[in-house]
Subunit: 116 residues, 2 copies
């Protein structure tokens, strides 16, 4: 009985985990979410804030994220056209994951440096 409960729990956990990985998988989604949640609004601004990303990848990911309601894209069609990206409440639900990962990255760096 305890065993069965444990097994079911594990199966449910893995699935939840795999769902999450599916949604935020890849190199760029979390860094982009993080950037926008940090207040970066303009395309080039976001681009500059993420080391290594290319225009193409940013463009693709933003498009997908807009479709999935992760970001809101607004166009101000004044003389020099201006585009702004904003995070949605849904986007902010990744906060804990991102924080945990930033924290891990910091600890990992310390660890590496101590080792060397």
């Amino acid at each position: 009985m305890a065993k069965a409960a444990l097994v079911r729990n594990q199966a449910e956990e893995v699935k939840a985990l795999q769902d999450t990985i599916y949604v935020i998988g890849g190199k760029w989604k979390l860094p982009i979410i993080n950037s926008i949640c940090n207040g970066n609004k303009r395309f080039r601004e976001i681009e500059r804030s993420i080391p290594g990303i290319t225009t193409r990848m940013l463009s693709r990911e933003l498009k997908e994220m807009e479709m999935n309601k992760l970001v809101k894209r607004t166009v101000y069609p004044d003389s020099p056209v201006l585009v702004e990206y904003e995070s949605t409440p849904y986007c902010k639900t990744f906060g804990n994951i991102i924080l945990a990962m930033i924290e891990w990255g910091r600890e990992h760096k310390k660890y590496i440096q101590e080792e060397a």
Copy 2:
């Protein structure tokens, strides 16, 4: 000044985030870590606990994770050879990330179901 501090902070955050993504990237590492931390020790046991994984991917990832000191592999060479995988303390440092991701997966499922 406040601006400069903010910028430096952001840059450091992204790098930490990207480091973490680099280490645990891909479809399988986190599910495997989770499985082993949950007490699964045998190869086939781990395999069965992760929906969709193939023998080959598990084998590859375990090998890599052993090299990176994420898991410990022990062979008991008794009549039917027995192999056991264990999590290392280092492996357990991913706990917070995994928990946050499981939590997100659960909420996401609720969200999807409510929507439908």
